[in-house]
Symmetry: C2
């Protein structure tokens, strides 16, 4: 069924003080810092319309994740029973895409300072979307 694959071209990268997965909070709201999202210059026209204070959904490619995991102990806690990765937010999953809700705190050309961002330094950014009040209230 899944007989074709698709190639993702990163559109930018996260610059963060977080340099290891171990150092990163599991979720942004768990004390994650602000980070700079540096968009590749060729995609800069795609930012027109984004302003400081906007809330965005940033999608990242969690490049240090394991793609062969189908079940994990939630939050890495061996006391918690193995659970299907699709029922968890583990970065370890077949397509390790991170979904991050952030606020734009500063804009400098094609760089956006966003917070909170739990992804580590060097994490590729693959998409940016505005939030939709009616669709994204989960």
């Amino acid at each position: 069924m899944a007989d074709s694959s698709y190639v993702i071209e990163p559109i930018g990268v996260i610059h963060s003080e977080l340099t290891s997965r171990e150092a990163a909070p599991r979720q942004g709201y768990e004390g994650a810092p602000a980070a700079w999202l540096e968009l590749d210059a060729r995609f800069a026209p795609g930012l027109d319309g984004i302003a400081v204070g906007d809330t965005l959904i940033v999608l990242t490619w969690l490049h240090v994740a394991r793609r062969d995991a189908l079940q994990v102990h939630p939050r890495g806690d061996p006391e918690r029973p193995l659970t299907g990765v699709f029922a968890t937010r583990s970065p370890d999953r077949p397509n390790p895409i991170g979904v991050h809700r952030v606020t734009v705190v500063e804009i400098d050309g094609h760089r956006l300072k966003i917070a909170p961002m739990e992804a580590i330094d060097g994490t590729p950014v693959i998409d940016i979307k505005p939030t939709l009040a009616r669709a994204d209230v989960h």
Copy 2:
């Protein structure tokens, strides 16, 4: 900067009564129907822990989208000024990933009936995540 690319392997596919982009609502909450998400059987263990009534974030690959668009008229309305794609939810964007908030209405083995789903029939599914009340209230 974006010097490497990544390969996405679909984990499943959407089966829907919606057969064309023109027929599809622009957002799920705009009258989109229920659809079946058929997970590839080899990923079935990843569903353990998902139950009817759960709200999920389903990520899709919007396979009919244009990847060369950096600015669009929001909602396809030529009266609205060209806007950067990253400030819109247009499916046309460099990495055409759809983010869909759905509710699980039925589970049949490795098939999930979900609603609402505005993606058209045959749209590849690339990830499934639970919602996080604190992170996903956008």
